[in-house]
């Protein structure tokens, strides 16, 4: 069983009456709700949290791409992965991912992912989502009717750019390039493992199965609602005679650990409420542009993740309901262990992406929950799926060959409001100019 510590990087300070007073957390949320000075603190806190997760033995650090919203403040997750590549040693950098239809030309993604893979010594997981309708259609103006075709073309170009031995020309419908010649090429050969985050489009099952990619279901509705999606995926895999290897399925789950079940409610209920009622307060008209989902997917009865229907399903739910319905797995280490094991078994899932910084949750609680998970939950789940080979984790360089960043010495710098003395010898270490 593998664990990725997944961050959304939400804005933690939306007003109390956000749901009642504001139209949407995405697309047209007023800019003056964002304070860049607070943002400075948040980005740095959030990077600290991911770095801590690396130190605590998580297998992966997850980041992803969203635009014009307060739900997840990473328009470019590659910037976060770059920061992490220098300050972490062990965990995979799970960039889940880049919405490849939005890049012009899409080899930009092939290049940046190759850079990340090389800098990190082969620790990159390359995620290729279509992206939400809010992000792709409403914020980035992509035509709903053609975005999927554009996405598949971008995928073909990126893979070819990573694997082709020679310079080649690409005559696509959406991208035309006379010379494609990737420098740098990725460290992992033939290319980093590809994970496809899906939100329940039936076409994505086939796409993953046909390319041996890992399918990651990123919903925050929890494992009970996610069962239908996982079953659909395994059904397609079985039909195509693919190995039913749990590591080929990733699943995102909100998890919170405290000393006891009661303490968990006391610590986390308000933050969970913030997450579901403010971070996910998406105007229904932005949730699903006409043509974003195929008619096949709509007819398959896939439920939308955001928007009115999703909000109706959550309406009036309290902590107890969120726990019972599986949206959140929270409680004492024992409770979390038991429920998470049951969840992973019922989904046949080998790559768990856990969301531990939930909504407005402050750093000290994130650290507590992470520590308890790492020490009292994770070790007790490592025995799951030992019979299977994880073919979807990065194949990194040997630890001894990975470059160490030089020590950093800040001079006359304030850290958390306190002046710090200049470190002796800094100039020598850095190479004086």
């Amino acid at each position: 069983m593998k664990f990725t510590w997944f961050h959304l990087m939400p804005y933690r300070f939306l007003p109390e009456d956000f749901k009642e007073k504001y139209h949407s957390v995405w697309v047209d949320i007023p800019r003056d709700l964002y304070d860049p000075k607070v943002g400075h603190r948040l980005y740095n806190d959030y990077l600290d949290q991911l770095e801590y997760a690396d130190a605590m033995g998580f297998d992966g650090l997850g980041v992803n791409e969203h635009h014009q919203n307060a739900y997840g403040l990473m328009p470019s997750p590659n910037i976060m992965a770059a920061a992490l590549s220098r300050r972490t040693r062990n965990a995979s950098l799970v960039v889940l991912g880049n919405s490849i239809a939005l890049y012009n030309p899409p080899i930009r993604v092939a290049e940046e992912f190759a850079m990340l893979d090389v800098i990190s010594g082969g620790r990159l997981v390359a995620g290729f989502p279509v992206g939400t309708s809010m992000d792709t259609n409403f914020c980035y103006g992509e035509i709903p009717a053609t975005i999927r075709e554009k996405y598949y073309e971008a995928h073909d170009l990126i893979i070819k750019a990573w694997t082709a031995k020679d310079v080649f020309s690409f005559n696509g419908k959406y991208t035309k390039l006379r010379y494609v010649n990737l420098w740098p090429r990725p460290l992992q050969q033939p290319h980093p493992p590809v994970w496809i985050p899906g939100g329940g489009s039936v076409e994505t099952y086939d796409f993953c199965a046909d390319h041996d990619y890992q399918y990651s279901f990123l919903s925050f509705f929890g494992y009970i609602a996610g069962k239908k999606i996982a079953d659909g995926y395994w059904e397609v895999m079985a039909k195509k005679n693919k190995e039913l290897n749990p590591y080929s399925l990733g699943f995102a789950q909100v998890v919170a650990v405290a000393e006891t079940d009661e303490q968990a409610e006391k610590d986390y209920a308000a933050h969970m409420d913030y997450f579901y009622n403010r971070c996910l307060h998406v105007y229904n008209g932005f949730a699903d542009a006409p043509g974003y989902r195929t008619v096949k997917t709509i007819k398959a009865g896939m439920l939308g993740q955001v928007g009115e229907q999703a909000a109706i399903r959550r309406e009036g739910l309290k902590w107890k309901d969120f726990i019972e319905q599986g949206y959140v797995i929270a409680g004492s280490p024992k409770t979390v262990r038991e429920r998470l094991r049951e969840a992973m078994k019922s989904l046949n899932c080998g790559h768990l992406m856990i969301l531990m910084q939930i909504g407005s949750m402050p750093p000290e609680l994130v650290r507590k929950s992470t520590t308890l998970f790492a020490t009292e939950v994770m070790p007790y789940m490592r025995d799951l799926w030992t019979d299977f080979e994880d073919k979807w984790s990065p194949k990194r360089m040997p630890q001894d060959d990975i470059a160490m960043p030089a020590a950093v010495h800040f001079q006359k710098t304030e850290v958390n409001g306190k002046a710090r003395a200049a470190a002796p010898g800094a100039a020598e270490v850095r190479g004086a100019k």
């Binding site: 103006g141 035509i143 709903p144 009717a145 008209g285 006409p290 043509g291 008619v295 709509i298 007819k299």
Partner: protein
């Protein structure tokens, strides 16, 4: 009368309403598509032979995968006109259909005998932004499209079926139609008509509801200032869906202009 028209290129099969007899009139519908029966087209059938195809991707009409952009749509109409035996015709277009009718007339100046554009799309004015129709909810649509959102016509067009199966059918059809429309209108309904509108040679009538909240009448001057032989007529007490709110006035204005 409903017919099916298959184009010789094998790419398109079209559901088409045909009414009356006389000089040919090709009708190009808006983003919402045609209703099963269109009374205002029936009325026009008393004076013209009206051809009203559902655009590929609408209703039973197939082949939307062969149309990506304005040029594809224009060539589709050129081929359709040739195969209907009406290489030239009066072109009447509403909203998105008005935008495409203007393009048909601009690409090949011989296609349109006369051109009628009812609240056409095709331009963007920063100071008068067009509301985001694609993001609008069913409950908001009547308010955007109608002068009187409580009128029976408005209520009928935006009714939400209570039966789940009917709701699903309606939803899927709406998604199909608007997905096709997004090729011309998303995210801003400007595909370069401003470069080509000067070419339109046909006498052109612009018709606009005085209370059009979707594409406000301020957009009319984008057309009248570029199309040499053009004039604007405002229709009172009408929103964007002029044909359902002021059917008689609309049909009268079209007839007078085309017969004049």
């Amino acid at each position: 009368m409903n017919t099916t028209q298959k184009l010789l290129n094998g790419k398109f099969s079209l559901e088409m309403q045909v009414y009356g007899s006389g000089e040919p009139l090709l009708y190009l519908h808006g983003a919402g598509g045609l209703m099963p029966v269109e009374p205002f087209l029936e009325d026009l059938g008393a004076h013209f032979k009206v051809y009203a195809p559902q655009f590929p991707g609408y209703g039973e009409s197939t082949g939307s995968e062969h149309i990506d952009d304005v040029a594809d749509a224009v060539l589709f109409y050129h081929e359709l006109m040739d195969e209907l035996g009406i290489p030239t015709a009066n072109l009447v277009g509403h909203s998105m259909g008005g935008m495409i009718a203007a393009e048909v007339a601009a690409f090949d100046v011989h296609r349109a005998r006369k051109l009628v554009l009812i609240a056409p799309a095709g331009f963007w004015i920063d100071e008068v932004p067009i509301p985001d129709f694609f993001a609008a909810q069913l409950t908001e649509i009547a308010g955007l499209l109608f002068h009187d959102p409580n009128s029976p016509a408005a209520q009928m067009m935006t009714a939400i079926p209570s039966d789940f199966k009917a709701l699903e059918t309606m939803y899927v059809e709406r998604v199909k139609r608007l997905a096709t429309a997004s090729k011309f209108l998303w995210p801003i309904p400007d595909r370069g008509l401003k470069k080509r509108a000067y070419r339109i040679a046909a006498p052109t009538l612009l018709l606009w509801g005085d209370d059009d909240k979707l594409i406000p009448p301020a957009y009319a001057k984008e057309f009248t200032s570029r199309i040499k032989n053009s004039k604007l007529e405002i229709i009172k007490n009408a929103g964007h869906m002029v044909m359902y709110e002021q059917q008689e006035a609309l049909v009268g204005a079209i007839r007078k202009f085309l017969k004049g």
